[in-house]
Symmetry: C2
Subunit: 342 residues, 2 copies
């Protein structure tokens, strides 16, 4: 898969890439420490099972990219209060709740390289602790006191659920069009990235032009993020992924690389994909064949090229803002995301 | 089961009981028509499966008692705006979302006398459409614009989830104490009744004394409501219940009548309950035996006596308010609830 990433505009090609998420992590570190403390305290409940299940996932080393976006966007817009910490924690709770419900819906065994909560405590606890965390997320939004932010985040909650429902109908369905697939990605992944980023400037009292720009950054980063994840599933390694290469294949997930391969293949190949995705013929020799077909049709390369275009849109969205360390860090996250797939 | 209901204070015993929910229904009818239209419009989504699943439950003839409480409480406190309609719809959506998730958690086959949504569309759709409705509920709360009402309702959302999780640990556990059981009922049922009623005066701008009084009415009605439901499961008929007599027994649910019978029984009886609740020995001859034991230990009578006491607390909570048709209707709901079990 080397060589498939085309650099973002304005970068010298041939330059050694060292883009990293570290500058962002450093800039938001003090606030993220407060976010992390808040997250732990809001997992608490007299009902012992709740913190147990919640912390299983929360301690499992997610990158907390979404809350970092809230913190960075608020700081970049000059916000001086404390509510960005509250909203950042609330965004992470929304995300965690979604993961708990997702695992039940997808019948997944693993999450971030650990057994999924549902494997340890059952589907029941996953559904209910997800509901609890969603409730806590809304309580924190109420605490933050911004009706505009509440509007953005509660809207995102419905859009995410719509995306997940839409995904049920595209699941194992190779007739899904690329448009339909991107609609799922926009709803189930990009909506929360967009909302998480937008609430930063909202807290800062920024006007429509600024909130829209940040929303656009978040939305496009979210789209790219999911496509990169789709590509990595056929080419990454378990350590980077927090899941195993081929998980999507074994679960019969229809993702962009699969759709590209399916449409570009001949009849025999399309038959191979139907057997694999729709009828569960997905042993390791078939995974190898799938990866060979991906290579032949440049499906991973084209998926990542699509991701690169979304990253450019995200970069453009921030173009008119003053150059600051926060802006540079947010741009570097885009580059890092693309490099992670390389 | 006749004769077990002791009339509320101030009623002449021996008088023929004609208490009904109709006076409340009549008073709130115009507003409830708006609530019902709003509910239907907010079920809408471009994703077809969502209105399909949501309407299956929403059209299934629930009494909509909770939103009626919001409407009546707002009217009784002199509220003149439109947001009580929005919050009433939002309360019903929270309730519907809970039912969808409940059916998955309980693995129930029936709901309100129809096949549960999960039996028709699978657990996946039930989880996700529940999430969608919860998101819509929050969006409507945001529309209503009262941070205080948002605080009350979002708090209720977390308490309900806590109650459901607590219920997992009491499920099929005959060592559950009555206190523990009532804690579950308070969280999973009474919390939403309390919040639904409290947001009425909150919208009207009433002070603490008034909002607390309405909250107390809702909370105690909710506690009574659940206990009456528990008793009816061993003595009602499928038409009144929307479920079959003995459903709780067959699902191995530990409810107050069961706990009373278990504690009051001899060793042989306690063994019978263990076999029935913990080991699924619950055929129809055993259900008959269970009902015989309930009679012997006056378990249903005492459960309903407990419900009657909660209804008195609810009545007391409204005692200091001026006598109005709304107040009379809310008191009559208490009497009706007790009579329904007679």
């Amino acid at each position: 898969m080397s060589g498939v990433v085309v650099p973002l505009k304005g970068e010298q090609s041939g330059k050694v890439k060292t883009a990293s998420v570290e500058p962002l992590v450093e800039l938001v570190r003090p606030d993220m420490e407060r976010v992390n403390r808040l997250i732990l305290s809001k997992c608490g409940s007299d009902i012992e099972l709740i913190p147990e299940v919640a912390r299983h996932l929360i301690d499992s080393g997610g990158k907390r990219l979404r809350p970092m976006l809230t913190i960075a966007a608020a700081a970049m817009c000059g916000y001086k209060g404390d509510h960005h910490v509250t909203l950042a924690a609330s965004v992470e709770f929304m995300h965690t709740a979604t993961l708990l419900h997702d695992d039940v819906v997808d019948e997944s065994d693993l999450r971030r390289g650990k057994l999924a909560a549902r494997m340890l405590w059952g589907n029941q606890a996953s559904v209910l602790v997800g509901d609890f965390l969603l409730g806590q997320a809304f309580r924190m939004m109420v605490e933050a006191g911004s009706l505009q932010a509440l509007d953005v985040l509660s809207h995102a909650a419905t859009v995410i659920a719509e995306g997940e429902v839409l995904q049920l109908s595209t699941a194992k369905n190779l007739d899904t069009t690329q448009d339909e697939y991107m609609q799922v990605v926009k709803a189930k992944t990009a909506a929360l990235f967009a909302a998480a980023t937008e609430v930063g400037p909202i807290l800062a009292g920024s006007g429509k032009a600024v909130t829209s720009a940040f929303r656009s950054y978040g939305n496009n980063l979210g789209l790219a993020f999911q496509l990169i994840d789709d590509a990595l599933d056929y080419g990454g390694n378990a350590k980077t992924l927090g899941k195993n290469v081929g998980d999507d294949f074994r679960e019969g997930k229809v993702t962009l690389p699969v759709l590209l391969c399916y449409r570009r293949g001949n009849d025999a190949e399309r038959n191979f994909w139907r057997e694999a995705i729709e009828h569960g013929k997905n042993d390791s020799s078939r995974l190898e064949e799938a990866m060979r077909l991906m290579h032949e049709h440049n499906a991973l390369g084209d998926t990542l090229e699509r991701a690169r275009q979304y990253c450019e849109l995200a970069q453009d969205a921030l173009a008119t803002f003053e150059d600051t360390p926060h802006k540079a860090a947010l741009i570097e996250v885009l580059e890092y995301s693309l490099l992670r797939a390389n």
